[in-house]
């Protein structure tokens, strides 16, 4: 009986299925009919209309690329600009034998091996129907020669193009960055952000630096024109035109003169300098030495130059100011001193005897001062002026790592500043929690000792150090460091100010700040570690020297500059602000592999201040100054 019911159900199911199948067939017929009606509408009813569009007046829509905004320094000097020139462009898909054609072309117009290499590289990266430049900046004679022979070269054309130029090259390369041809990755990125249509026709996009981070402002809005073309696709006349909207101009807070002064002061040393305006966080100078010629990247860099830049031992492509991490060395001490006062672990009057070393209670290991035999009686003021290590060893032990971390992290060390270019690194301000997390090891008291003089796990970028220095100079006002000061609408000329952004204010007692600041002024006075750099200055400035260790020195050994490979020598550091009474500029200098802060880094700061405050362009480079300095060893830290 049961079986019977199921069989009946199955039969019912089958007929139900057939009904549904028939319904589906009907459904498909109806939809096919709808399609057919649509075809009929397009091909019969509207045929005339579309025929006109396609045959007689074919309309094609061409994008018009907007002019990219220019980038100026605070006084209106051009840092990135555009120029128009004629370029010879090739559409590879329209050419049968590319090499033969190029050989033939080079008999008419000079095409260097470098041009060819660059073209080959572009060819590999691009679609074959894209128009690719083989030569730019054609001379009038070259244009005329090619025009006369154009019939021999189908698929090759002269095009008027706008090119990007960086007149200051390496002097501002690490700030401005560069634009370069749009690649697949960029396209993906653009598509994801829904900006692809605005880049139809655009060939370039910002890849690094300001050119990258302000791409949205600089690029502008692509216009388009409806062009009537004949049956062969040549345009006859323009029917309608939606003009492009040029990109905005950027006015940076950077001072080109100051950049040049820094460049001069560094000579051919490697290093970095970041100078901020303590009243608003504007970046006044931002240098990473060596720089590179960013013009090379615009048209696509050729293999040789790339190799040269990429494999150079000086690593010119490395943005040391933004991405280089260095132990801050003794430039860490002013922040330690403030921590001591604010947290009540030291008074300005307290003094201790410095025998030249410090030992943790019950441990044999000696933590040595840089000065053999020690500095005698040292109070907080003297500890900064002569850069006494022992004072900070003992202080560190009293403070403990957690207090140090909590207090000093307020100055932005070990954390990205959030400046308006991409790629910043965070560095490291160590803490017990960090060490546990990173190495699964507990924090030892000895770790704190080396942290206290800015060595050990400490890693900061020159930008972070400048930021922290600004916070001392302006009594704790954390302004957001930024490059762009104004954005100018290139059509109306209207200027929009980027207002200073006060992130937070540190709650520091002014009497504590005064103690530290007075000591920092005395660093540049006779008896201080930067006395030579401060000699005969027309203004007073405050600073702190530092030495950033590149290699560790074993217990019982001494650092001997002459015996160490040049690349392993210590880095010189200096943080400073001027004028001391009413700071206009706060900076951090790093000079790689030159030893001590007082002899090489501080004189650079002095020269930068001389230019900024007095308008004096430096005449001697630091290298020369260092030779003049006789007694190297006395200002070790």
């Amino acid at each position: 009986m049961k079986q019977h019911v199921e069989l009946r159900n199955l039969a019912a199911e089958l007929s139900k299925f057939r009904i549904r199948l028939a319904l589906s067939a009907g459904f498909m017929l109806v939809l096919f009919f709808i399609l057919y009606v649509r075809f009929y509408y397009l091909q019969v009813t509207q045929q005339e209309h579309y025929h006109t569009l396609a045959e007689a007046n074919r309309i094609s829509i061409l994008p018009i690329v907007p002019n990219r905004g220019v980038i100026l320094d605070r006084h209106g000097q051009a840092l990135a600009q555009n120029y128009s020139a004629y370029a010879l462009e090739v559409v590879p898909s329209k050419i049968k034998d590319l090499d033969a054609t190029l050989d033939e072309l080079s008999t008419l117009i000079e095409i260097t091996p470098t041009d060819r290499q660059r073209f080959k590289k572009l060819l590999k990266e691009s679609k074959r129907f894209k128009s690719l430049p083989i030569r730019s900046r054609l001379t009038d004679v070259e244009i005329a020669t090619f025009a006369a022979n154009r019939y021999r070269f189908p698929g090759i054309e002269i095009k008027a193009r706008v090119f990007r130029q960086y007149p200051e090259k390496e002097i501002v390369s690490h700030v401005i960055g560069y634009i370069s041809r749009i690649n697949d990755q960029d396209l993906e990125h653009l598509e994801r952000n829904g900006e692809l249509n605005n880049y139809r026709g655009s060939q370039y996009i910002g890849k690094i630096g300001i050119e990258q981070s302000y791409e949205k402002y600089l690029h502008g809005i692509t216009g388009f024109e409806e062009v009537e073309t004949d049956a062969a696709g040549r345009s006859i006349r323009v029917l309608s035109r939606t003009p492009p909207i040029s990109g905005n101009n950027l006015i940076l807070s950077l001072d080109l003169g100051l950049q040049q002064a820094v460049e001069k002061a560094f000579g051919d040393r490697r290093g970095a300098l970041v100078a901020l305006d303590p009243n608003n966080g504007e970046v006044l100078a931002f240098v990473s030495k060596p720089g590179y010629d960013n013009n090379l990247f615009v048209g696509g860099i050729d293999h040789e130059n790339w190799k040269l830049l990429n494999e150079s031992i000086d690593r010119p492509l490395n943005n040391r100011a933004l991405r280089g991490v260095y132990p801050p060395g003794s430039t860490f001490k002013p922040f330690m001193a403030l921590a001591a006062l604010e947290l009540g672990k030291r008074t300005p009057e307290y003094s201790m005897n410095d025998p030249g070393f410090f030992s943790l209670p019950g441990v044999d290991r000696r933590y040595r001062d840089w000065k053999p035999g020690g500095h005698g009686r040292v109070d907080l003021h003297k500890s900064l002026v002569v850069s006494c290590d022992t004072y900070y060893y003992s202080l560190a032990n009293d403070l403990g790592i957690d207090n140090i971390y909590d207090f000093i992290s307020q100055f932005g060390l070990g954390r990205k500043t959030g400046i308006d270019v991409e790629g910043e690194v965070s560095g490291l301000l160590p803490s017990a929690a960090w060490k546990m997390n990173q190495y699964k090891q507990k924090w030892y008291a000895g770790d704190t000792i080396s942290v206290s003089i800015g060595q050990g796990y400490n890693l900061t970028t020159p930008l972070q150090l400048a930021f922290a220095t600004m916070l001392i100079a302006n009594d704790g006002k954390a302004f957001q460091p930024h490059f762009v000061k104004q954005i100018q609408d290139s059509h109306t000329g209207e200027i929009r100010e980027i207002p200073p952004q006060l992130l937070y204010t540190l709650d520091l007692k002014s009497k504590h700040l005064e103690v530290v600041k007075r000591a920092l002024v005395d660093v540049t006075q006779p008896g201080g570690t930067a006395a030579k750099a401060g000699a005969n200055a027309a203004y007073t400035f405050a600073g702190k020297t530092g030495t950033s260790q590149v290699i560790g020195i074993k217990q019982g050994e001494r650092y001997d500059e002459k015996r160490i490979n040049e690349r392993h020598r210590d880095h010189a550091m200096f943080i400073a602000y001027a004028p001391a009474e009413k700071p206009q500029i706060a900076l951090a200098v790093l000079v790689e592999n030159t030893g001590t802060g007082g002899s090489t880094a501080a004189p650079i700061a002095r020269q930068v201040f001389d230019y900024f405050l007095l308008g004096q362009m430096p005449e001697t480079t630091v290298a020369q100054l260092a030779e003049l300095a006789e007694d190297h060893d006395h200002d070790h830290l």
């Binding site: 199921e6 159900n9 199955l10 199911e13 139900k16 299925f17 057939r18 549904r20 199948l21 589906s24 067939a25 498909m28 939809l31 096919f32 709808i34 399609l35 057919y36 649509r38 075809f39 009929y40 397009l42 091909q43 019969v44 509207q46 045929q47 209309h49 579309y50 025929h51 569009l53 396609a54 045959e55 074919r58 094609s60 829509i61 994008p63 129907f129 396209l187 993906e188 598509e191 994801r192 952000n193 829904g194 692809l196 249509n197 139809r200 692509t222 388009f224 049956a231 062969a232 696709g233």
Partner: protein, 366 residues
């Protein structure tokens, strides 16, 4: 001679000649249009010819497998597909802003393509299992089986494929006898959840839909496709401009003219008459598929055959609809004609299943 006959018999034993002739006719049309669409690029045409050969061999192999064995593959295929889709979501390669491909060392695969076959197989298998006691909760289970991969593909994002796979699964539900009341309910739920769908969608997908409503809004972007393909079709008129003479095509006004927009090329060069012939040819193939479906003997074979047939139709309709400007541009190829090996293989694999259903001895269910 006898030997030749044996071989011939062996080769054609499980091939449905009516269907095969229809498919070959469509594929030949495809090669001719492709020649024109690629600007007489013989390399692309021979590539495509090679793709077709591979796909035909695969079709032949599938046609030789009895359905009971194919049925056994349903669950493993589905599970493999699901695992691959999850892997794509986790480690897939990003290409053109979407995560669709999986690099498995030797080659890259697109798991959503596998799902186009695995979903109807799995759901047909599922309903075959629950044939006797088909209840509401069985439909619910089937819906979940369907929605898992669909949501994963939607996230990649690949709206076109997600919708097509959802459709192929829905056809199984429909043919399995899902009650009208529930279908209407589903329809209402779907339209109510459209806003949620909208938030799920990527910007470019939204723009495509907005552009359908007003193509002139985005003349450089998606609207450009619609405008240019409409001009191509419309200017073809009744008789067409003739093979290799479509100006829209030859002057590169058409986007993607060898893949998704190849129908515009055909339409411009062969006109309304060509379109009529093409629709007829497609309908002949679909008609044969419907006959095979109606004659299928088991629940499983009926459902899988019906779903494959309807999905094939859906491809045609969606592609022609988007090219002629009545559907949004979702990136669906025109079956058997668009350039591309993957979709060719998937299509012919489906037809191989249909042939197997038709040519293997029918099992009488007791």
């Amino acid at each position: 001679m006898i030997e030749f006959k044996t071989i011939w018999h062996y080769l054609t034993r499980y091939v449905d000649s009516f269907l095969l002739i229809g498919l070959l006719a469509l594929m030949s049309v495809g090669l001719f249009v492709l020649y024109s669409a690629t600007g007489a690029n013989i390399t692309r045409v021979s590539n495509q010819f090679f793709n077709m050969l591979i796909a035909l061999v695969i079709m032949w192999m599938v046609a030789n497998i009895p359905l009971q064995q194919i049925m056994r593959l349903a669950l493993p295929l589905y599970l493999i597909g699901l695992v691959l889709l999850v892997s794509v979501a986790l480690f897939g390669e990003i290409n053109n802003g979407a995560r669709r491909w999986l690099n498995i060392g030797i080659t890259r695969i697109q798991p959503s393509e596998l799902m186009k076959i695995a979903i109807p197989l799995m759901m047909a298998w599922y309903f075959d299992k629950h044939e006797i006691t088909l209840r509401l909760r069985d439909y619910l289970g089937a819906t979940i089986l369907l929605m898992l991969p669909v949501l994963l593909i939607l996230r990649q994002p690949d709206l076109g494929t997600a919708l097509l796979i959802a459709a192929s699964g829905f056809y199984v539900l429909f043919l399995a006898g899902l009650s009208w009341r529930i279908m209407i309910g589903l329809l209402l739920t779907a339209s109510a959840s459209l806003p949620i769908f909208w938030t799920f969608m990527h910007d470019y997908q939204r723009r495509r839909i907005m552009t359908l409503l007003d193509p002139t809004q985005d003349p450089l972007g998606a609207g450009y496709h619609t405008i240019q393909s409409s001009i191509a079709i419309g200017s073809g008129g009744i008789g067409g401009k003739g093979w290799l003479n479509g100006t829209q095509t030859q002057l590169d006004f058409l986007p993607e003219q060898s893949t998704d927009f190849i129908f515009a090329v055909f339409s411009e060069e062969f006109g309304l008459i060509g379109n009529t012939m093409l629709l007829l040819l497609y309908f002949l193939v679909i008609g044969r598929c419907l006959v095979i479906t109606a004659n299928a003997s088991t629940q499983f074979t009926r459902l899988i055959a019906g779903s494959i047939t309807l999905t094939f139709f859906t491809y045609i309709f969606v592609n022609m609809g988007m090219v002629s400007g009545i559907l949004p541009i979702v990136g669906v190829p025109l079956p058997l004609i668009s350039y591309g090996g993957t979709s060719m293989v998937t299509m012919l694999l489906g037809f191989g299943i249909l042939m197997s259903i038709q040519t293997h001895p029918k099992l009488v269910k007791t």
